[in-house]
Amino acid sequence: MYKVRLSFYKKGYAKFVSHLDLMRMFQRIFKIAGVDIAFSQGFNPHPKMSIAHPLPVGVTSDEEYLDIQLNSMPDYDRLVSQINKAMPEDIKILRAWEPIEAMNLLCLSKYTVKLTLREKVHCFEDIITAFKNMNEIVVSKKTKKGIADVDIKPWIKSFDILESDGTDFTVSMLLSTGEKANLKAFTVLDALAKYIPEFKLLYCDINRDCILKENMAKIDV
């Protein structure tokens, strides 16, 4: 069995394709592209593939990771071009390689978020600073046990304003990702709306720039 790691982007309207639909799409695409994917044993065999940290519906990404297992040794360049021939326009493979590190080392997501507010806000910088300095940032979050109040502050690793122009802002967020602690960019925006009365969101455009290890490095680099 040969383990292969694929990185891919998801842009444009494809951000509305759910994780489950994406996985089914990959299965069909692998079939079309003649990728010799390994199947699990058992009564109901399924292809051996797993995705690093599923992207929420409505978020684009520059780089996601998908691990697959093949029955035969791949030619990585050919693999990428074969798969991409069958992929839709807005989702394409960037690279394929033999993985070195375990995927669960990835625990941080860096997002760039473009915001348009309904009304002009004075001193957006001060507001954000005050938000970041709060003792706790409590939001209702869906957990395995149902909806619970959670303090998300420890999971916001950084929050910086990159650009501001009237009602339009671009911010960068570094948030915890993974099984232990998982914070969506949408949840941070909900928290902003909850704590800051002036923060009236009209539009937002969230992009995951990369998924990183604890030490802020990319995987396998």
């Binding site: 444009g12 759910s18 799409m25 069909r28 695409i29 409505g58 839709p88 348009t116």
Partner: protein, 610 residues
């Protein structure tokens, strides 16, 4: 379109992926370069519309032509429609995200009567005038599909109608449109040009007058360019016609999420209740070589794990077992399932089924349609009780334990005895299980009986018959509920929906105002339980002063001018009358494959039935 606003709405609705397009296989052409821009509209949700083969075919035919483009439209679900209306977003295409009003020819496929209100809703959402008489400029709305053969109840909303198979005629219409647009002539001029083509019906070129008793007096053409009786179009050579082997594969789960292979058109069985059996005549098969090639392409291009044969009674294909073997050679080594949705009890092969359903012994479905031999003879469903019991025995002894049986109630000449016969038949199937199943676990056997309600349809021998009254159908359903045994599950259809279907199936032009009013009152997605509002419909009929019983329940005189009598589907009126007579006497008519029964379809231009 305001992209940011649109994306914001998509975050707030259920299943946003059905509104985005961009699937593999979708074709996005440069919008303004196309000489004729066709909007293909399916008046139901994406999940249903994308399961429809006709749309895949016409989408491919039009986009294959470098001069034209075709983009898709579906009815947005209630939540999406509300957001669109609140934010004044017009109904847009999935490809270039252009509003419906920016297209040249807007085609709706009429697959079932209860989707009609969605047509008006989609036109309204798309910014297109509802009534053909009020449309201006160079935009035309047309209808096609099985219900288009009698689309009189919605004829006021169509500029023209395509009758029959669309692969050739749609291109001819687009050609005519391109020429017409360059000449800058009147709308009427375009309609007169295409009215001369076989397969085109322009409703406004015909006047309908009525007798005092409400029946149709006369249907008379008012334009010399129109045919006396517009005739349906058929494809003569199924091996030469375009077939979509690289169809769109949706991101989301849809109703029939699989590759579809059409192996022939038409059906030779002649079941007297079945509209498809008459309007899709004659039978035309594709060659085995062509089918194997198309199967290979479909499997290689789509990545689907199921290939489904989609003809009316697929196992009737000449040399079906040899074809199935060849197709299985294609599918098996690709880990693809071959699916056979329509099975007949009289030619069921266990060997074949074992090969087809290697892993999953999922349920088998058969449609005896009626509970007694007497009634099966009347409807010309040429299967016997013994056929069913033999097949059930074969299936049970080979490991199946789950059988679904489809029947109809309210059939012409039906008695309570016939309906109770359904329970008897189901019970016999259960008993066969206990006699034949190798591993008799009492709880394992599952026989499901489903009954739909007969709706008399135009162009069938039963087109003159009234539908049975709702309360009497419900009584029969209740009697059957009480009669089925404990190993049988019974499901039945809602009588109200079937009643409305009967009104519109055999309606005339006076129902257009009913349709308009129903739309104005908010009727939509009538085939969906959560949306169907029968009382609202009854209010509409009262307000329009129209008696729906006149259309649904009334048995029509054989000499009556039927509202669709000016349309020619190739099967003669005399044949339908003869078939009705035979039905009333309980005489069956054999399958056309055993010799021509003289329905008249061979007169439809050079095609000889199989």
């Amino acid at each position: 379109m305001n992209d940011k606003l649109f994306e914001k709405l998509l975050l707030e609705v259920q299943k946003p992926a059905r509104y985005i397009g961009g699937e593999t296989g979708s074709i996005v052409k440069e919008f303004n370069k196309a000489k004729c821009k066709v909007a293909f509209c399916f008046p139901d949700t994406y999940e249903i519309g994308m399961s429809h083969l006709g749309m895949k075919i016409l989408y491919g035919v039009l986009n294959d032509n470098p001069d034209y483009l075709c983009e898709r439209f579906f009815a947005p679900w209630i939540d999406m429609e509300q957001k669109m209306r609140e934010n004044t977003i017009k109904l847009y295409s999935l490809e270039n995200k252009k509003a419906l009003s920016e297209f040249d020819i807007i085609g709706f496929t009429l697959q079932y009567e209860m989707s009609y209100t969605n047509i008006l809703n989609m036109l309204d959402l798309g910014g297109v005038e509802l009534l053909a008489s009020e449309r201006k400029g160079d935009i035309f709305v047309c209808f096609g599909g099985p219900c288009a053969y009698n689309c009189e109840p919605i004829a006021d909303f169509a500029d023209f109608v395509m009758l029959g198979e669309g692969e050739e005629i749609f291109i001819e219409v687009a050609d005519a449109y391109t020429k017409w647009k360059n000449l800058g002539k009147t709308r009427k001029d375009f309609l007169e040009t295409i009215a001369r083509l076989d397969g085109i019906y322009v409703p406004s070129f015909y006047d309908v007058t009525y007798n005092e008793d409400g029946t149709v007096k006369e249907i008379k053409k008012n334009n010399v360019n129109a045919a006396d009786r517009p005739v349906k179009r058929i494809i003569k050579d199924m091996d030469k016609v375009y077939y979509p082997t690289n169809p769109i594969v949706p991101f989301t789960e849809i109703v029939h999420n699989r590759a579809m292979l059409e192996i022939f058109r038409g059906c030779t069985r002649g079941c007297r209740f079945c509209q498809a059996g008459f309007i899709y005549r004659p039978v035309r098969e594709k060659s085995p070589e062509k089918l194997v090639q198309q199967a290979k392409e479909l499997v290689n291009n789509t990545g689907y794990d199921e290939l489904s044969l989609t003809s009316l009674s697929s196992s009737d294909y000449s040399c079906f077992n040899q074809l199935a073997d060849k197709l299985l050679d294609v599918t098996e080594n690709k880990k693809v399932n071959l699916a056979l949705p329509s099975l007949r009890v009289d030619n069921f092969s266990v060997d074949l089924m074992n090969r087809i359903q290697k892993v999953r012994k999922s349920g088998l479905t058969f449609a005896p349609e009626a509970g007694t031999q007497r009634l099966r003879d009347i409807i010309n469903k040429n299967v016997t009780e013994q056929d069913l019991l033999n097949t059930a025995a074969l299936a049970f002894s080979n490991g199946w334990s789950n059988i679904k049986l489809y029947f109809m109630t309210g059939l012409p000449f039906e008695t309570l005895e016939d309906v109770l016969g359904i329970a008897d038949l189901a019970e016999k199937v259960v008993n066969i299980y206990f006699k034949t199943a190798p591993d008799k676990k009492r709880r394992q056997v599952k026989v499901t009986v489903s009954t739909s309600i007969f709706v008399p349809k135009p162009f069938t021998p039963f087109q003159w018959q009234g539908q049975e009254k709702m309360d009497s159908v419900v009584e029969k359903q209740n009697a059957l509920k009480a009669a089925v045994g404990k190993n049988v599950t019974y499901n039945w259809h809602d009588s109200k929906l079937s009643y409305l279907e009967a009104v519109f199936a055999r309606g005339d032009r006076r129902l257009n105002k009913v349709m308009l009013k129903a739309f104005e009152k908010g009727c939509k997605f009538d085939s969906w339980d959560e949306c169907f509002d029968f009382e609202k419909w009854m209010d509409v009929f009262r307000e329009c002063d129209i008696d729906p019983d006149f259309y649904a329940l009334r048995s029509r005189d054989l000499n009556e001018v039927l509202p669709w009598s000016h349309i020619d589907v190739g099967v003669s009126d005399a044949y339908l009358k003869k078939e009705l007579m035979r039905a009333s006497e309980g005489i069956t008519t054999h399958d056309c494959r055993q010799g021509c029964t003289g329905c008249g379809i061979n007169g439809l231009g050079g095609v000889k039935c199989v």
